[in-house]
Amino acid sequence: MKLYFKTVVFILLLIGSAFWINIHFSGVAVSEAMSAQIADSAAAAAGDLAPAFQKAFLSGKELDGIKALHAFSQKTGSVFAGLAATDGTVLAHTNVALTGTRLADPLMLKGLRTGAPHFRRLFHNGEEIVETVIPLPRQKGSSGEELLFQGPDAPGENAGFLRAGLPLTPARKAEKDITFKLLILAVLIAAAATALSTFFASVILRQVYLLKEGIRKVREGNYDFSVPVISRDELGEVAVSFNKLSRGLSETTVSKEYLDSVLESMPDPLLITDEAGNILKGNRAAAEFSGYDFLPPGSRNLRELLEPQTEGAAEPFALLSWGGHIKELDLWFKARDGKRLPVMLSAAFIGGAGGRQVVSVLKDTAQHKESEARMAQYLKEVETVNSELDAFAHTVSHDLKEPLRGIEMFSAMLLSDFGAKLDPQAGDYLSRVVKASGRMRRLIDDLLSYARVARVRNPYEYASTARLAEEAVAGLSVLIEERKAVVKVSGDLPEIFCDPVKIRQFFQNLVSNAVKYNDKPAPEIEISAERFGEYYWKFLVRDNGIGVPSQYFEEIFRMFKRLHSRQEYGGGTGAGLAIAKKIVEEHSGRIWVESEEGKGSVFYALIPADLSKKP
C-alpha cells in the first residue's frame, strides 16, 4: 500500500474512531437524559395520583391498587405498573400474576435501600423501556396529636413504592432527532477533517514523491539528477542528502547512459547473456549483424545460435565455464536469414556471484577470412615470382660467370705474357679490365649467394647457435687475425630449430661486417642472445665499429647498398646484410640495427625459439 494511502487510512481511522466515540457517548448521554426525564415525569404523575395510591395502601385491596395503577398507566402510558410494600412485596400489579410476589432485583433493592427514586433501561417483551422505582410517601395524618408530635414538615416514611415500566417511544423520537443532528455535525467535522488531512498528507508526502522520482532517475542511470527541496523538515534533510549522494555518484560513476552509448557505438556485435546463454541485451551492431532484435530479453539463446567450425569441438559456454573466459574462438553464427556467418567469439563473466552474466563480443571474420585467402594467394604468387627470380638470378649469374671467367683469365694472360710488349697506356687499360672483371665476379658470387638463400632449402634441425657462431668465427680467422680483432661468443646461446648452414652464414656475415667496418686498432665483437617473450630468442651482435647513421638503419639491409666507396673498408659488395636479413626472415624472424656513429653498432635478430611448433 502506498504511503499516502497508509497515511490517509490512519487519519481516517482516527477520525472514524473519534466519530464513533462522539456519536456513541453523545447517544448514551442523550439516552440517560431522556430516561431521567421520563422517570421524573412518572414521579410527577405518581405525585398527582398519591391519594389513590395512599388509599390502596390503606385499604390493602388489590383492586384499589389496580385502579390506581390503571390511572397511572392512563396518565403515563406505562406498559406495566405495580405497587410494592416497603419490603418489596407486590400489593397490586397490572399483571395480576405478580401480586404477592417479592421484587428483589437490583433496581428494587436499590430503591428499598435508599428510599429514593431510581431508574434503568431494559427490554420488556421486546420493547425497550425505562423501568423506574418511585417511593410513595406515607400521607401524614392531620390530627392534632400527629401535628403536635411530628410537626407538619417532618420527614415521613414511605408507604411503599411504585414500580413502573415506561415506554421510550416518545423519547426515542427526541433521541433520534438529537442523535441525527449530532451525526450531521460529526459528519461535517469528519468530512472537513478528512479533507484537511488529505491535503496536509499530500503536502507532507510531496517531498517523498520527489525523492521517489529522484530514486527512479538514479536507478535509470541519471546520476546527475537533483531533487527539489521543498521542506525544511527531516524529509527535506533526506532530500539534501540524496542530492549530495547523486552528485557524488555522478562524479565517480560511469552512468548507464554512457555505458549504453559505448555499447551501442561499438562496431563489433556485443551480446549480454545470463549464464544459461539467454540473451538479455544486444547492441546495434549485433542486431544489424544477426538480423535479430533480441526482444524481449531472454527470447533468444546464444548457445543455440553458435556452432563450432570444426566437428567435435567443445561447446563455447562449456569452455567459458571451465576457463572463465574465451578469447577469439572461431565459430559459426546462425543469422536470422538462415546464413551461417563466421565469427570470432570472445566472452567473459561479469557481475558478482549468484547474479553472473556473460558479455560476448563477436568479430565478423568473413572479411578477415577473405583477406587471409587473398593474402595467401598473393604470397603464393610472390613466392613463385621470387623463386623464378632466384632461379633467373642464379642462372644469369652462373651463365655470366663463364664469359667473365674467360675475360678475366685471358686479360690476365695477356697482361702477364705480353705486358712488356704493350704500350703503357694499353697496359693500364688492360689492367683495369682485369680489376673490373674481378669485381664483377665478386658481385656475381654475392648475387648467387643471395639467390641461394631462397633457392636452397637445407633441412631444418635443432642446432646449437653457439656452435654455429663458433664455426662462423673460425671461418673468418684469417680476417680476424689480420685485423687483430677479438670476437666473443656467449656460452648461453640457445639451441633452436633452424637451417644450420644459413644461420652459420648469418653469423659469418655479421661478424665479417663488424670486423671490416671498424676503425679501431683492435675491433671487439660480441655475440650473445636473450629470451624475448615466450616464443622468441633475440640474438645480438655488438661491435665497436664505425657505426651507422640512423637514416640508414633500414637502407643498409638492401642488396648491394654501400655507405662507403669501394676502396674503403675492404671493398665489399654490400650484399652481406641483405643476405643476413633474408636468412632471418626465412626463419620467420626480424632483423634491425641500433647504432651510434663512431661508437659501434648492435645488430638484433629475433628468431622463433622452436619453428617446429609453428602453427
Binding site: 388489590e62 383492586l63 389496580i66 385502579k67 406495566f80 397490572t94 399483571n95 395480576v96 400474576a97 404477592g100
Partner: protein, 291 residues
C-alpha cells in the same frame, strides 16, 4: 363496524317477513339508542310490521292488555316485571337465566354467543394446541351450562374448567389461579364480570403471561381479547323476529335460540404479543380485525 351496520340496514328491507301480529306485540328497550335500537330495528324489519316500543330509561312501560308477545332489548328491560300470561323474548340480556316453569307464558332467550361447541371449535382453530380452557363466569344464568361445557370439551379433547367468580373483585385471584393450569381463558358475556377495569386486568394478564383470552363481543376484542365469537345485534334482532313469528303461530320454540350467523372479530396486536399467527381461513372469516 360501519360496513357491518350499513349492510345490515340495507338488507333488512329485503329480508323475508314472517307472518306476524304486530298489534299484539310490543318491545321494551333498556335504552332507545345504540345496540338496543339497532337490534330492535332488525327485529321489526324481519318481523314484518311496526311494533310499539318502550324506552325503559325514560318511563316505565304500560303494557296494553291486548299485547300477547313482548320482546325486550337489554338487561334492564329483561329484568323488568311484566304481567303474567305474556310471552317474552329476551334479547341482549347477558347472564339471564330463563326458568320456563316460573311463569305461565313462554319465555325465550336469544343467545348472545354461538353455542359452546361452535365456540370451542373456533378457539381450537386459532389455538390448535389448546389443552386446557378455563371459562370465567359469575352470573347465575351460566350455571346450567357448566356440565354441558365440560362434556363438550371432553368430546373435543380439551379440558374445560368453568370457574365461577364470587364477584368482580375476585378476578385477579382467579387469574393467578389459572397460572400454570390453563392454556386459554374464555369470557362469556357476563355482566357481573365484564367491567372496563376487569377487561384491562385480563388484557395485561393475558399479554404479560402469554395466556390468550377469548371474548364474546366485539368490544372485548377491542379491549385486548385475542378473538371474540359473538353475534351481531342485527342477527339477534332477526333471530328474535323468527322466534316471535313462531310463537305467534303457536309453534314450539326452545328456551334459548342461537342465531344462525355468528360474528368473529380478531385483535392483531394481541396476536403479536402472544406470538400467535391467525390461520388464513380464520382471517377470511373474521368480520373485523383490530390492528
Amino acid at each position: 363496524m360501519k360496513p357491518a351496520l350499513l349492510s345490515a340496514f340495507l338488507l333488512f328491507p329485503a329480508a323475508p317477513a314472517y307472518p306476524a301480529a304486530p298489534e299484539n306485540t310490543a318491545a321494551v328497550l333498556s335504552l332507545d339508542s345504540g345496540a338496543y335500537l339497532e337490534a330492535f330495528s332488525a327485529f321489526q324489519a324481519a318481523y314484518g310490521g311496526e311494533v310499539v316500543r318502550y324506552d325503559l330509561s325514560r318511563q316505565k312501560p304500560v303494557i296494553d292488555e291486548k299485547v300477547k308477545l313482548l320482546v325486550t332489548f337489554g338487561g334492564k328491560a329483561a329484568g323488568y316485571s311484566y304481567p303474567a300470561g305474556i310471552n317474552i323474548i329476551y334479547c341482549l340480556a347477558p347472564g339471564l337465566s330463563v326458568k320456563p316453569a316460573a311463569r305461565e307464558a313462554r319465555e325465550v332467550r336469544i343467545a348472545l354467543t354461538p353455542a359452546f361447541p361452535a365456540t370451542l371449535a373456533k378457539i381450537r382453530r386459532i389455538q390448535p394446541g389448546l389443552k386446557h380452557l378455563r371459562i370465567l363466569w359469575s352470573a347465575p344464568g351460566y350455571a346450567p351450562y357448566e356440565q354441558a361445557a365440560m362434556e363438550e370439551g371432553a368430546r373435543q379433547g380439551v379440558q374445560v374448567t368453568p370457574f365461577r367468580l364470587e364477584g368482580p373483585d375476585s378476578l385477579p385471584g382467579a387469574l393467578r389461579g389459572a397460572l400454570g393450569e390453563a392454556d386459554a381463558l374464555w369470557l362469556p358475556p357476563d355482566p357481573l364480570i365484564v367491567t372496563k377495569e376487569n377487561l384491562r386486568i385480563l388484557r395485561e394478564f393475558s399479554w404479560d403471561n402469554n395466556i390468550p383470552f377469548y371474548g364474546s363481543t366485539k368490544s372485548m376484542t377491542r379491549e385486548g381479547a385475542l378473538a371474540s365469537f359473538g353475534i351481531s345485534f342485527a342477527e339477534i334482532g332477526k333471530a328474535a323476529a323468527r322466534a316471535a313469528a313462531a310463537l305467534d303461530r303457536g309453534e314450539a320454540v326452545p328456551g334459548t335460540v342461537y342465531p344462525e350467523r355468528t360474528e368473529l372479530t380478531l385483535n392483531a396486536a394481541a396476536a403479536k404479543k402472544l406470538g400467535i399467527e391467525f390461520p388464513g381461513p380464520v382471517l377470511d372469516e373474521a368480520g373485523y380485525l383490530f390492528p
